[in-house]
């Protein structure tokens, strides 16, 4: 039954070179890309400073739409951060072995989209330079912040999730950092020596590392669920028709996981192409991610229909006016959302042909990202634009200021990712090797199957 495991047949040095190609070679294309993105980012920062010194009037905000694209960006980026948590933590806990090549990129995506998302509550403040009023530290002002405010829950939750996911990313990288340390020279070796903290791979270290990784996975999932619930409560706690709904917490969490998986697919497809990781990221991985995306699309549709149904059936005047506007002023956004979130993705993702084709699933994921963005636009803007008092109803459209800052946020995320892929291992090499170590090929009659051994707690092996 044992047979030779796949790792024994692999040239580990070659595997390392293949998987860490991003760390080894830097072409002019990387510099050119970084240059363009840096320009976009600097432009965005300049526009932000202009907004800060001139006033929020340069945006398209008004009464009653006091929150617009900047808050949509906040929810969007925090939503994207649920990618890594789901894939890394849940797949780790359920022993899904196909997760290995996806882990690192997903966890990095979580950390960076959180970093970008956490900036937006600071960006959209009227008096940004006084943001420190929200920090409870001893001061002479005679006041601390109001913990009853959902914005303070945001502060605490996002802080916890940010620190937690950065730690999760870092701890996940330690064995790979040790691997890189042993295979590099110069400043890189020094950097990896410090970051790997002297990890070597002794038996005692591995056992404790496994326990620590499991603990991280167990702890980060409830944090992720609570974070996006709390972000949703920024809206659900308000007396705004269309916001004040009990379904918001699970609805937002589902939406976040939905957009997060789409984001991971996009990132994986790009990485696969740029760093020629076709052997590690196979159609199987996209197939599995596609199945998850399909499920989330269905779940999203289910939650949305439920919310719509209750409002439509009851015709509470205040809420109904908001929903009626979906068919009038906000019809383009509504159609975009429904098409890109459900009507196109769900049937397509049911097809194996689409899931296994990287360009096809890339396109579908892009649609999902667009759809989820417009969903948040609809939630934030439409409810405010058609709220309680019809006399002050007013439409909203973002100005070049908000669009510049949005573009800069995408640039910042991409730049963070590009720098990360240069310095750190973009593939969880140790996890991939571990999977190969546990995998043997087993003959069943005339067919061959892959058998993956899973080790139980007390050291007794059991073939799955």
């Amino acid at each position: 039954m044992s047979g030779e495991h796949l790792l024994a047949r692999t040239d580990e040095a070659q595997l390392f070179r293949d998987l860490s190609r991003s760390n080894q070679v830097t072409t002019w294309r990387w510099f050119a890309g970084m240059g363009i993105l840096a320009l976009v980012l600097l432009w965005g920062i300049g526009v932000f400073v202009y907004m800060m010194t001139t006033g929020m009037g340069v945006t398209g905000l008004n009464r009653p739409v006091f929150w617009g694209v900047l808050i949509v960006n906040f929810v969007f980026w925090i939503g994207l951060s649920h990618s890594g948590t789901l894939i890394s933590a849940i797949l780790r806990l359920t022993h899904a072995t196909w997760r290995a090549p996806i882990l690192r990129a997903a966890e990095a995506m979580t950390a960076f989209s959180l970093l970008v998302g956490a900036l937006f509550p600071l960006i959209h403040l009227g008096r940004n330079w006084r943001f420190y009023y929200t920090i409870p530290y001893p001061n002479e002002r005679g006041l601390w912040p109001n913990m009853r405010s959902p914005l303070m829950w945001d502060a605490v939750a996002i802080n916890t999730y940010l620190l937690g996911s950065l730690t999760f990313l870092y701890v996940g990288m330690i064995p790979d950092l040790a691997l890189l340390r042993d295979n590099s020279t110069g400043w890189r070796r020094k950097l990896y020596s410090i970051l790997s903290l002297g990890f070597r791979g002794t038996h005692a270290e591995w056992r404790r590392y496994h326990v620590a990784s499991t603990f991280f996975a167990i702890l980060i999932i409830p944090v992720a669920v609570s974070v996006h619930s709390i972000v949703s409560w920024d809206f659900a706690m308000a007396k705004v028709p269309g916001w004040h709904s009990t379904i918001f917490a699970p609805y937002f969490v589902v939406g976040a996981i939905f957009s997060g998986i789409a984001g991971v697919i996009l990132v994986m497809a790009v990485l696969r192409r740029v760093f020629r990781l076709e052997k590690a990221l196979t159609p199987l991985h996209f197939d599995n991610l596609g199945k998850l995306l399909c499920t989330m699309s269905l779940l999203w549709g289910y939650f949305y229909f439920t919310e719509f149904l209750t409002v439509w059936y009851n015709r509470n005047p205040e809420e109904w006016e908001v929903f009626r506007s979906y068919g009038k002023s906000f019809l383009p956004v509504f159609l975009l959302m429904i098409t890109c979130n459900f009507i196109v993705p769900f049937p397509l993702l049911c097809l194996r042909r689409v899931r296994r084709s990287v360009p096809a699933i890339f396109g579908v994921s892009l649609l999902v990202i667009v759809g989820m963005y417009s969903e948040r636009v609809l939630i934030v803007v439409a409810s405010l634009a058609r709220r309680n008092d019809p006399f002050i109803w007013h439409n909203y459209f973002p100005t070049w200021v908000e669009l510049s800052i949005t573009a800069a946020s995408f640039a910042m995320f991409t730049m963070l990712y590009m720098v990360f892929s240069k310095i750190f291992p973009i593939m969880a090499i140790s996890e991939i090797k571990e999977r190969l170590f546990h995998t043997t090929e087993r003959a069943i009659g005339n067919a061959t199957a892959e058998a993956i051994a899973r080790v139980e707690e007390h050291g007794e092996g059991e073939v799955k």
Binding site: T10, S193, H203, R208, V211, F215, G459
Partner: protein, 174 residues
């Protein structure tokens, strides 16, 4: 721990397992034998780790400490700055629960990092730890902490007999 470390490289788990068995029968205590490998090996495959893993208790304790800290933060803020908002009670319970939970999780996550790293012996840059970078080429290093002199020679002999290459005795710790 006084002593020296004898280390040898092996191609594959089967050979390393033979070496591990040989070292145990020298005799050497199980806690003094370990492997260094690029992938984690099941407990008992080559060597055993008899020491219990303690840091989860620290994590659980940290969760409760964090919960108290969060509770304290929320209550202190309410009671030291009692301002009426929306006619709600000064000490509002649901927001207190949210803040308590988040800070508890934060403390637990940080404790996992710090206590886990400490228990793994990470971060001790000054310590001379035995290591061989060739484990990343598919080799498994089997090492044992031994008394210098006779025991070291016998251990080195056992490793060579089991098929080890580059068997050597080094100063340092496991």
């Amino acid at each position: 721990m006084s002593g020296v470390v004898v280390i040898g490289l092996f191609d594959g788990v089967e050979k390393a397992a033979r070496a591990g068995k040989a070292l145990r029968s020298l005799p050497l205590p199980a806690g003094n034998i370990t492997t260094i490998s690029g992938v984690p090996l099941p407990d008992g495959a080559v060597c055993e780790d008899p020491r219990p893993i303690r840091f989860p208790r620290v994590v659980i304790a940290a969760w409760f400490v964090g919960a108290l800290a969060g509770l304290g933060l929320a209550l202190a803020t309410y009671l030291l700055y009692p301002l009426i908002t929306a006619g709600k009670a000064i000490v509002s319970i649901p927001p207190t629960l949210i803040v308590t939970y988040e800070i508890a999780m934060l403390f637990a996550l940080m404790a996992t990092l710090i206590a886990g790293a400490l228990e793994m012996g990470l971060g001790r840059f000054k310590a001379r730890k035995v290591h061989d970078p060739r484990i990343h080429e598919g080799k498994i290093a089997v090492c044992a902490l031994v008394e210098p002199g006779d025991q070291a020679r016998r251990a080195a002999g056992a490793l060579t007999e089991a098929g080890g290459t580059e068997v050597r005795v080094e100063e340092g710790e496991l």
